[in-house]
Every structure is written in structure tokens, then in C-alpha cells.
Symmetry: C2
């Protein structure tokens, strides 16, 4: 497989004339930590001014879309909530509209506020997550508190696992009991019932999480204990998996043949675009390197390569 390395103004101009919808990964593409990538803000402005559609696609499930919007605002980047698709939001949409989890069933959360707010937004109940009783350390080798009636809540119809800096043995133990109970894999949870089927969903399976001093262990690593202990295969929502794309297309339809995905990671962003039939542009301001796509036997290769999103400014000059 080969890619086009964009090097001249006309390369960039030709790219912009070929696509109407631009999907952006955020961290490593628009910003790095708390610093905007040089030129990124201006490129987005020029795209908007040219009537292009913009969509932000992030696996970061720690924040709700509304909280994520504040990050855009704090960095001075124009965005609207309707343009933001996160794995937390896509997971909530998937549980509500694809799996049709009944309103009286709860979602047991291994995760943070972002997941909880998105579940609430689609009208789903949750437990676990940031609840104080699940954010403590159990006494050593004392399982007594887990054996009380209704501690393993029979109304839970799904376990949703994402990045959680307050991961605890309590949460792992409760989630394990939900996804391994009798009938857990027997289909879909029914309204009015207790126990029975229980879905097992991961927001994303990134092995690491990008933050200051990172990488640090990521959502995929934090859900590994549940996958290993339950021996179940979870449904994974975030990039490179296609449920994220299904969610975007359902909420904000676009012409895939005129769309370009811009990302910094081969294993999530570019693989996501390739699988989804969307052209892709790799930028080198994040995780992946040119050497990786130039290597013999490279399995995931973008359609285009440029150093930085800021390079696209050349197309508008």
C-alpha cells in the first residue's frame, strides 16, 4: 500500500477541493495536552469559511460532550456540541437506540463523569462509576460487604467500562458478577425483569491514555481484568471499531466518498477510517511516525500524509 505525501501548496489545495466533510481526532491533531497545534485553529476557520462540514471524533470518554466543548473553548477553537462525537456519547447512543436497553434497567459503570452524563442525557439510569460506596478500598480479604442483599443489583442490564482513575476492586467484582450471572449472555435484558441478560460494552480499547508525563494505562487496559476473568468478548464502541461510525452516520449523515478523516494514530484513527471506507490523512504531531507506515509489511497506511494539520493553511493562500 502507498500513500501520498502532501508537500506542495497545490497538493494541499487539491486535497481540500476533494472533500466536503472533515472528521478530526482531537488530541495529537488539534492540540497536544493543553497546547494548540500551530495553525490548527486557522485551518478549521478556513474550512468553515469554505462551507466544509466539521466533525470531532474522540475516544476520550472521561468528559461528556458538553464538558469537552469547554476544552475547545478554553483553547479558543470554535466548535458546537452537535459536532462532537465521543466514545462515551456513542456508547450511550448504542445502549439506548441499538440495544434498546429498557428504561428501568441500569448501566453499571466503570468510568467517570463523562460516561454518566451521556447516559443520563439519553435517559438511562446508571450505578457504580463515581458513587461513593464503590470508590473505597475493601478491607483485606473481606468480601462480606459484597455479599449483602442487592449489592449486586439485579436491575443492572449492562456493564459499560471506560477510562477510570478510580478503578477499584469493588467495581471489578460487581461488574464481574453482573456479566457472569446466570443468563448474562442469553440475549437482551427485558423491562420489568431482574437478572438475566447483561450486555458488556467498552467505550474504547486504547491500551494507553495520553496525558502529561504519559502515556499512562488506558481504557483498554483498565477493562482487561473483566475480559480476562469473565472470558466474554465485549462490544467495543470507540475507534477503530465501527460502532462509532454507525453513531455518527445515524446522528449526522454525510457523504463518505467526500469525507476525510484526520488523525495521529494508525491503530485507532487510520484503521477506523480505512475500515469505514473513508479516506484518511495522517499527521505526525501525535503518536504514530512516518517510519511506521514506511516499514515493510505496514498493515495500516493512510491515504495522505502531512507533518501537521497547520500545513493545510497552504491550500488557502
Amino acid at each position: 500500500m502507498s500513500y501520498k505525501h502532501l508537500s506542495t501548496s497545490s497538493d494541499h489545495a487539491s486535497l481540500i477541493s476533494s472533500y466536503d466533510t472533515y472528521l478530526f481526532d482531537c488530541d495529537g491533531v488539534l492540540w497536544s495536552g493543553d497546547e494548540v497545534i500551530a495553525g490548527a485553529k486557522e485551518v478549521l476557520q478556513r474550512l468553515r469559511a469554505s462551507g466544509k462540514s466539521i466533525i470531532f471524533v474522540t475516544n476520550n470518554a472521561t468528559k461528556s460532550r458538553r464538558a469537552y466543548l469547554k476544552k475547545f473553548q478554553s483553547l479558543g477553537i470554535q466548535a458546537d456540541v452537535s459536532e462532537i462525537f465521543s466514545s462515551a456519547y456513542a456508547s450511550a447512543v448504542y445502549l439506548k437506540h441499538v440495544l434498546k436497553l429498557p428504561e428501568d434497567r441500569k448501566v453499571y459503570v466503570l468510568g467517570m463523569e463523562g460516561i454518566q452524563e451521556e447516559l443520563e442525557d439519553v435517559g438511562l439510569k446508571w450505578c457504580g462509576g463515581t458513587s461513593p460506596e464503590d470508590n473505597v478500598f475493601l478491607p483485606t480479604l473481606d468480601f462480606t460487604s459484597l455479599l449483602q442483599p442487592e449489592v449486586i443489583d439485579g436491575k443492572v442490564g449492562a456493564v459499560l467500562c471506560g477510562f477510570d482513575m478510580h478503578m477499584s476492586y469493588i467495581k471489578l467484582a460487581k461488574a464481574y458478577k453482573h456479566i457472569t450471572r446466570a443468563g448474562a449472555t442469553s440475549g437482551s435484558p427485558q423491562a420489568g425483569e431482574s437478572g438475566g441478560a447483561c450486555h458488556f460494552i467498552l467505550t474504547n480499547d486504547d491500551s494507553t491514555f495520553p496525558a502529561k508525563g504519559g502515556p499512562w494505562p488506558g481504557a483498554g487496559s483498565l477493562s482487561a481484568p473483566l475480559v480476562f476473568s469473565s472470558k466474554r468478548t465485549p462490544t467495543i464502541i470507540g475507534k477503530p471499531h465501527q460502532h462509532m461510525l454507525d453513531c455518527i452516520e445515524a446522528v449526522k449523515p454525510f457523504d463518505k466518498s467526500r469525507a476525510l478523516f484526520v488523525g495521529d494514530r494508525l491503530d485507532t484513527d487510520i484503521a477506523f477510517a480505512n475500515k469505514g471506507g473513508i479516506k484518511s490523512l495522517l499527521v505526525l504531531t501525535g503518536i504514530s511516525t512516518k517510519a511506521e507506515i514506511d516499514a515493510d509489511g505496514a498493515e495500516v497506511v493512510p491515504d495522505y500524509l502531512t507533518q501537521s494539520l497547520g500545513d493545510l493553511l497552504a491550500a488557502f493562500q
Copy 2:
């Protein structure tokens, strides 16, 4: 493969006459939770009275051998510390005598008191584990405390991961940094150095932990985040892996051709004996069932089967 189902007194007597050393898994064989398996105590007494050697082999790394001895005593079962081999003890022996970790290097522990006490017993320093600073929840999305100088201690030369009900993101993050630092896989840590090579050891990889109300997520599940995030292959000490056997043979040599392993789990106990060239007896008072070894294509099959350890009393009557 086929096994002999012991059903008559002469079957049992013939078994006892064939072996001189008896290796026992504990939970599910000698006891279940806090209850002794009927007849188990008496069988052990008869074996001792007949001059047989007894060895206890457990993957449970939560207690030191000394603390484990108290469990034997509380249940009225005769035992000596020199007869007890746990995955915590075998891990400490492996780090000290096989890997020869220099005395000035530390072991970063994801685990509980049992591991720490065994490390101290062989003269190795540890950090992490039950240290108060690593048993707290970090503020949400705030990695600041992990970025302070020497928080990621360069004197760590090994990460040892076992069952830990106080597993925390701090411990996962620190352990991840140790096993992925520059040179981490470059050989053996050297005395006097900081950084460089760092071993990655698991006490055992049991997916679940047996306790009241269990099974619950086990040591193998709790170490899964580190395996997934670091992409390293750890050295695994406990059954069915053979480092445990190496440790027993080094400390307490015995004639393998005259030894019998008694266990309740095919995937740990019986697989351990089969790989190690030791005959095995499966009892049905724990995890595995007769149906599993009778199934077409059963991969792990014992040499002998009996319902309960207590059945062996028949051999002495």
C-alpha cells in the same frame, strides 16, 4: 487420554503404595473456605504415620507461608512452614536466587502483605504494595503527583504483581512506567544503577479467586492491565507454570517418579503436574468436574480420579 477412577479400597491402597511424596493444592482439596474437607485431616495424619513426605503448593499469594501456617493451625491440620510453597514465596525465591536481583534494587509490588513478607524474608526491598501513598485514589485526570521527582523510583529493578484487593490506578501507573522505561527489557538490573532493566513477574495468572460468594476476579485478571498496556510477556511463577516446581525441587528435592500431585483444578493443578512429569489425582471437592475430563477432546486429564481426598482413608483400613 484416560484416567483411573479409584473406586475400591485396593485401588486406594495400591495408589498409596506407589508414591512417597504427596503434593497438595489446598483450597478445594484440604478445605473449602473455612471448612475442612471431610477426612482430609485424617488422610494427612495416616500419610505422615506411614513415613510419606508432604508438600503444600498454593497459588494464593495473599499470605506469607508463616501466615498460611496459621490457617492450617486454625483448622487443626498439622503442617510445617518448610512444607508450604506459595506463589509469593516462590516469586521471592525466583527474584533472589534465579534472577539474582541485587540487594540495592527494589521490587515494586502490586499485591498484599504475603508478597511483601516473603520478599523481606529473602532480603529484598520492596515498595508499592500496602504503602499508604499508593493506596489512595488520585484526583480525577490529575497526574501531577505522579510527575514529582523520584515518584517513579529508579531503584526499582522488578515489578511483582499478585492478587491485590487494593489495586489502584497509582500502582498500575507506576508499575507501567517501570516496565516500559528505556532499557526495561535489556537484561538484568545491575547493582548500584538506577533505571535500566526491570523484570516483570506475576505470582500467578488464575483468572478468578476463590472466596466466600466467589469466584471473584483473581491475580491473573488484576495483572491484565499491565500486560495489555506494556505489551510485555511477564514471567509467571505459580501453577501451572514450572517455576513453582523449580522452586520446590531446589528447596526440597524429591523423587518425581514416586510423587503424586493432588488437586481440584485441571487448568492449574493437573496441568502443573502433567507438565512437570508428576502423576496427578483429581478430587471433585473444588472447581473442576468429572464431565470436563470425560468430554471429547479434553486436553488436561489426571492420572487418577476420586471424589474426595477423604476417600484415601480406605487405603489405611
